[in-house]
Amino acid sequence: MEYGWDFSVVLLRPGNWLRGFLVTMIYAIATTGAGLLLGLVCGILLLSRHALLVSPVHLYVEFFRSTPLLIQIVWFYYALPVVIGLTIPAWLAAGLGLTLYMGAFSAEIFRAGIISIEKGQWQAARALGMMPVQLMRRVILPQAVRRMVPPFVNQSVLQLKNTSLLSVVAVPDLMYTGTLLVSETFRPLEIYTSLAIFYFIILYPLQRLAKSLEQRDDV
């Protein structure tokens, strides 16, 4: 049986698409940024020598790395209000889920990046008389960040794709916009195909950038 493709339906709601694009980008950028900050703090805490600091952070990181993001978002939206007795809006619940998810993965990237720097570098910096903060800022982080860039770009790409899960709590991102249009037009093939191409157009340049950063070896 021939299927009659009709891509014109995709262009039915340009205003909605623009909103969806903006929502997706804002969530991707904001939750990636906030997640990175959270990850930096948690990554450094994971390296501390105090078990009292390490254990809770470790628990958080492993929990969020080992459970589906979809459940985390749904849980923040439906269960958290029950637990704390306070309704939080969908946009906040979703943002919280995405941020904590990104934070957990970045914490691990920071931790792994920092401990990948050879012992000798720490010793040489200490031998000069550097304080722990100076040692981090001047010697360890500049080298570690270079090694962290590829995994971070990778994680950011995933993060942008993961914003599509926002649609389950009715945040009007790209995915949600598409789903609405599908229910209006009954043209899921055209709409989801177009959506995939759209995500690809956004993310492909980012992937290229990551590749070129990986190949750069200037110090």
Binding site: E118, G120, Q121, Q123, A124, A125, R126, A127, L128, G129, M130, M131, P132, Q134, R138, V139, P142, Q143, R146, V219
Partner: protein, 252 residues
């Protein structure tokens, strides 16, 4: 502090890891301008001892004086600030150089001055350039460490340590990782330092070099100083049987 009193003095220094005692009560005094060599079989605790002096390993017990700063170990843990202050006065050069790979030779030498001593950048650059010149690497100032030969890297590392104007310089087997043809250029720099009166403690296997420039040599075995004296006393007239057999193995 008079010239006669030692620049650095160590008493009953001990370092243990759990039940393993790496350094077992070492006492040592190095006078200003003296180059004191520490020799001994591998695993005898000589490197650990050296690393205790600048607190890269925290000694379990003992007493240490550098200049007029005294540190007593085993009572309380030193704060990060106390450790940093002590280390800034004790230079260290490592077997594997450990230059900062993201900085040029010049930046490596400037780093301690700028970050730790808070020296003005212009002044730090001036001093670093002089030091690179001194170790014969003025033309490598803008080169990153991975483009330096082992001998050049080690000379930059020596300049980096000297930039802090340490009271004493610790050198931990600084030629052991070098190709044989590159050892000479590093020893030449150290020889120059002995002539200039730099106070140094060197852990080394370069016996010929020790014989030539050491003011004193101590022989360590099983975490203790077994014998010490002038190069002639220790190398030519060893009394302790363990030192005798160590030197015999060395000559073969």
């Amino acid at each position: 502090m008079s010239d006669a009193s030692p620049m650095i003095e160590v008493r009953d220094l001990a370092k243990s890891y759990g039940r393993v005692e790496a350094v077992r009560g070492v006492s040592l005094a190095v006078r200003r301008g003296e180059a004191q060599f520490v020799i001994g079989p591998s695993g005898c605790g000589k490197s650990t001892f050296l690393r205790c002096i600048n607190l890269l390993e925290e000694p379990s017990a003992g007493w240490l004086r550098v200049g007029d700063t005294v540190i007593e170990f085993g009572r309380h843990r030193l704060s990060a600030r106390e450790q940093a202050r002590h280390r800034s006065q004790v230079g260290m050069v490592f077997q594997q150089f450990h230059l900062f790979p993201h900085m040029t030779a010049l930046q490596n030498v400037m780093e301690g001055l700028v970050t730790v001593k808070r020296t003005d950048r212009h002044e730090a650059r001036r001093q670093a350039e002089l030091l690179l010149e001194k170790v014969g690497l003025a033309d490598k100032r803008d080169v990153y460490p991975r483009h330096l030969s082992g001998g050049q890297a080690q000379r930059v590392a020596i300049a980096r340590a000297l930039a802090m104007q340490p009271r004493v310089l610790l050198l931990d087997e600084v030629t052991s990782a070098l190709d044989p043809e590159l050892v000479g250029e590093v020893l030449e720099v150290i020889r120059q330092l002995t002539l200039e009166g730099m106070t140094m403690i060197l852990v080394t296997h370069e016996m010929a070099f020790a014989r030539e420039v050491a003011h004193r040599i101590v022989f360590m075995d099983e975490g203790q100083i077994v014998e010490s004296g002038t190069a002639e006393e220790v190398l030519d007239h060893p009394r302790n049987p363990r030192l005798q057999s160590f030197l015999r193995r060395f000559r073969r």
